[in-house]
C-alpha cells in the first residue's frame, strides 16, 4: 500500500519540479501544472504518512529515513502555506526538486515503510522529534525565501533591462515572509527542544544537540538583526546559513542520533 502512495507523490513532486523549470523559461505556461503537482504530491504523501501512522506499532518516523520522509512533507506543507503561487515559482524551483530528491532518498532507505522503534506512549520524544523536524522544515523554507530575497536584491542592484520579465515577489514581501517563517520556526524549535532537554541527562550531549542549539542561536540572531538592528541583508544571509545548518543536521547528524 505504501508503495502505491510513494510513487504518485514522487511523480507529482518531480512533475512540479520540471513544470517550475519550464515556467521560469517561459512564464505563465507551466505555472498551473507546477501548482497542481505540488498539491497532488502533498495529498499523496499525506495519505502515505497517514497510512504509516495507522499501520505502525509506534511512531513510524524515528529512523533517519523515516524522519526524512516526514521532513519532506513538512517542507512541502510550509511551502504550500507560504508561497505556492505564480510569483513564488522561483522558490518552488528550489523546493520541489529538493523534495523529490529527499523523498526518493527516504524511499530507497526504507523511510516510507512502517516503523516501530518508538512507542506512541513515549509522548515527550514523539513531540520532540515532530517539533524539531517541523522547525527544520520551517528553516528550510525560510532559507529558500532568503535566497530569493538576496537574488532579488542583486537583480535590483545590477539593474538589467529585463528586470521586470521574471515576475518574482517584491523585496519587501520576501523580507516579511522570511522573518515571519524564521519566527514561527524558532518558536517551534524552542517548543521541540524543551522535551529534549528533559531527556538530556540520560541521552547526553551529542553533536546533534549542539547543532540544534547553534540553529536556535542562528534563528534568534536573525530576528534580532532584522527587527532590532534593521540589518535586512545580513539577516537574510544568516537565514541562508540556517538552511545550510539544517541540511547538515538532517542529512548527516540525525543518522547518528535517532537511528
Amino acid at each position: 500500500m505504501a508503495e502505491l502512495l510513494v510513487w504518485p507523490a514522487l511523480l507529482a513532486y518531480g512533475e512540479a519540479a520540471f513544470a517550475y523549470a519550464g515556467d521560469v523559461r517561459s512564464p505563465g505556461r507551466f505555472g498551473r501544472f507546477a501548482t497542481w503537482g505540488v498539491r497532488v504530491g502533498w495529498l499523496a504523501q499525506t495519505a502515505l504518512l497517514t497510512f504509516q501512522a495507522l499501520s505502525a506499532d509506534g511512531f513510524p518516523w524515528n529512523s533517519w529515513a523515516g524522519s526524512l520522509n516526514l521532513f519532506v512533507w513538512l517542507v512541502v506543507s510550509a511551502y504550500l502555506i507560504w508561497g505556492c503561487s505564480p510569483r513564488f515559482r522561483l522558490l518552488g524551483l528550489a523546493v520541489m526538486p529538493l523534495a523529490a530528491l529527499l523523498l526518493a532518498l527516504s524511499y530507497v532507505a526504507g523511510g516510507t515503510e512502517g516503523g516501530s522503534g518508538l512507542a506512541w506512549s513515549d509522548v515527550l520524544l514523539v513531540v520532540h522529534v515532530a517539533l524539531v523536524l517541523a522547525a527544520f522544515a520551517g528553516f528550510t523554507v525560510a532559507g529558500g525565501l532568503a535566497a530569493l530575497e538576496l537574488w532579488q536584491e542583486r537583480v535590483l542592484k545590477r539593474r538589467p533591462a529585463g528586470i521586470l520579465r521574471l515576475r518574482a515577489p517584491s523585496l519587501v514581501a520576501l523580507d516579511r515572509l522570511t522573518i515571519a517563517t524564521v519566527a514561527v520556526s524558532l518558536v517551534t524549535l524552542t517548543a521541540g527542544i524543551i522535551p529534549g532537554l528533559a531527556r538530556l541527562p540520560e541521552s547526553g550531549l551529542d553533536v546533534l544537540v549542539v547543532g540544534t542549539a547553534v540553529l536556535w542561536i542562528l534563528g534568534a540572531a536573525i530576528l534580532y538583526l532584522r527587527v532590532r538592528a534593521g540589518r535586512r541583508e545580513l539577516a537574510a544571509a544568516l537565514a541562508l546559513g540556517a538552511l545550510g545548518a539544517v541540511i547538515v543536521l538532517q542529512l548527516g547528524l540525525l543518522a547518528t542520533h535517532v537511528a
Binding site: 512564464p27 505563465g28 532579488q152 535590483l156 542592484k157 539593474r159 533591462a161 529585463g162 528586470i163 521586470l164 520579465r165 518574482a168 515577489p169 517584491s170 523585496l171 519587501v172 514581501a173 523580507d175 532584522r226 534593521g230 540589518r231 535586512r232 541583508e233 539577516a235
Partner: protein, 410 residues
C-alpha cells in the same frame, strides 16, 4: 443591415489631420446620434484615431454621409481628406475593431487605455443589435488578448516603468511615502503613476517654492525647499528626482546618513534628470536602489520588444475572434431567407389542416390540439436541416446570401 467603418488613424494621417477630425466625448455622442438615424453608429475618437462604425442598409449612402461629416468636422475639403481615410466593410471592419481593442493597432502595442476608450465610445453610441454585438465582442477580444498573452503586462513609458520598479521593491505601494524633487512635468507624471498605484506623495521639494506648492496642492502634499531633501530621506520610501539643476542634489553621504534610521526599509531612488541629480555612488550603499533615466529607458525598450513578440500571439486570438464574428454575420444574412422559408412552410401546414378540417370535425378540443402540435413538430423537424445549411452558407462576395451547396436536405 451591413457593417461599415470609415476612419483615419496614425497609420495613414499626420497629426495635423488627426487633430482636426478629433472629437471630445460630447462630440462623439452627437455625431453618433446624427449618423445613427435610420441605422446604428458609434464614433471612436482618440489621439491616434477617429473612426465611425456604422450599421446601415445601404453602405454607399452611409459611407458618403460619414465622409461628409468628417470633412465638415475638420473643415477640410473632401478631396483633401479622402486620401487619409479608410473604408472597411463587414468582417474586415469587425476584425479591425478587434485589433484596435486589443491594442494591436496602437503606437505602443498592447497599451491599456484603448480598451476603456472603446468601451466609452460604445456606451455613447447609437447602438442596435449589430453594433451592440460587435462592440461587446471587441471588448471581450481585447480582454482575452490581454489575459492570454503578456502584451499589456509590462510598462511602456518611463513613468510607468518607474512605478513597476517601485512595485518590484515594495509590492503593494499603499502607504508608501513618495518624495518628489523638482516640480517639472517628468516628475509630475512619474508621481501620478506612483500615486495611482497607492503611494502617498508627502513632500515636493523644489528650488522655486511656488512651483513646489502648486504641485504639492494637487496631491495634498507639503512643499519644501530643495535643501530640506536630506531630512526627508529617512522617512520617504521612494524618491523621484527630475530637476534641471546642473549640480548634484543628493550625495552618497546624505543617503548614507539617512539609512540607519530606516531600520532596513529599502529606499528606492529614481533619477529622471539629465544631468543626473543623484550621486551614482549611492548604488554602493546597502538597502538603497538607484535607477537613472538610462536604466528606465532600457526597461521600456526591453518591454516594447517583449510586447512585439506577444503581439503575434494576440493577432492569432484576434483572427480567431474575427472568424467567429464572420460566422455570426453570415447567420444574420440568412435571417430573411429563413423567415421566408418558415412562413411558406407554416402557410402550407395551415392550408392542409384547413382542407382536412371536415374530416377532423368529430375531434375533441384535446385531440385537435394534439393534431396541431404534431403537424408543427413535423414542419420544424423538416425545416431544421435546411435552416442550418442556410446559416452555414453565409454571405457571398457581394454580400448577398449564398445558395447552400448541394441539396438543402441531408
Amino acid at each position: 443591415m451591413r457593417l461599415l467603418l470609415v476612419g483615419t488613424s496614425h497609420r495613414l494621417a499626420p497629426v495635423e489631420v488627426r487633430e482636426r477630425v478629433a472629437l471630445d466625448s460630447d462630440g462623439e455622442a452627437a455625431l453618433a446620434r446624427r449618423l445613427g438615424e435610420g441605422g446604428e453608429a458609434v464614433c471612436l475618437s482618440t489621439c491616434n484615431r477617429t473612426e465611425l462604425y456604422l450599421a446601415a442598409a445601404d453602405t454607399e449612402v452611409a459611407g458618403e454621409r460619414a465622409t461628409v461629416e468628417l470633412a465638415d468636422l475638420g473643415r477640410i475639403p473632401r478631396g483633401e481628406l479622402e486620401p487619409y481615410l479608410y473604408r472597411l466593410e463587414q468582417d474586415a471592419a469587425a476584425t479591425h475593431l478587434f485589433r484596435v481593442a486589443a491594442g494591436l493597432d496602437s503606437l505602443v502595442p498592447g497599451e491599456g487605455e484603448i480598451q476603456g476608450q472603446v468601451r466609452a465610445a460604445y456606451e455613447r453610441g447609437a447602438v442596435g443589435p449589430l453594433l451592440d454585438r460587435l462592440f461587446r465582442h471587441a471588448l471581450q477580444t481585447g480582454k482575452r488578448a490581454r489575459s492570454e498573452t503578456a502584451i499589456g503586462e509590462r510598462p511602456a513609458s518611463v513613468a510607468s516603468a518607474a512605478a513597476a520598479l517601485a512595485a518590484q521593491v515594495f509590492g503593494d505601494l499603499s502607504g508608501r511615502e513618495l518624495l518628489v524633487v523638482g516640480a517639472g512635468k517628468v516628475g509630475q507624471l512619474a508621481a501620478k503613476h506612483l500615486v495611482s498605484r497607492g503611494a502617498a506623495l508627502t513632500v515636493v521639494a523644489n528650488r522655486t517654492f511656488d512651483r513646489a506648492s502648486a504641485l504639492a496642492s494637487q496631491f495634498e502634499a507639503s512643499a519644501q525647499p530643495l535643501d530640506s531633501v536630506e531630512s526627508q530621506l529617512s522617512e520617504a520610501d521612494i524618491v523621484v528626482s527630475s530637476t534641471s539643476a546642473r549640480e548634484q542634489i543628493v550625495s552618497r553621504e546624505q543617503v548614507e546618513r539617512a539609512l540607519p534610521a530606516r531600520k532596513g526599509r529599502p529606499l528606492l531612488l529614481l533619477d529622471l534628470a539629465v544631468p543626473r541629480d543623484l550621486d551614482p555612488a549611492i548604488r554602493e550603499l546597502h538597502g538603497s536602489f538607484l535607477f537613472d533615466i538610462d536604466d528606465l529607458q532600457a526597461v521600456v525598450e526591453e518591454t516594447l520588444t517583449g510586447r512585439r513578440g506577444e503581439a503575434v500571439r494576440a493577432e492569432e486570438i484576434v483572427a480567431a475572434e474575427g472568424e467567429r464574428f464572420r460566422d455570426w454575420l453570415g447567420s444574420l444574412d440568412a435571417v430573411p431567407a429563413i423567415a421566408s422559408l418558415r412562413d411558406r412552410a407554416e402557410s402550407i401546414r395551415r392550408g392542409e389542416l384547413a382542407k382536412a378540417s371536415p374530416r377532423l370535425a368529430g375531434l375533441s378540443e384535446r385531440e385537435r390540439y394534439a393534431v396541431e402540435s404534431l403537424t408543427s413538430q413535423i414542419v420544424n423537424k423538416l425545416l431544421h436541416q435546411p435552416i442550418m445549411r442556410l446559416k452555414e452558407a453565409g454571405p457571398g462576395e457581394d454580400g448577398e446570401q449564398r445558395a447552400p451547396e448541394g441539396r438543402l436536405q441531408g
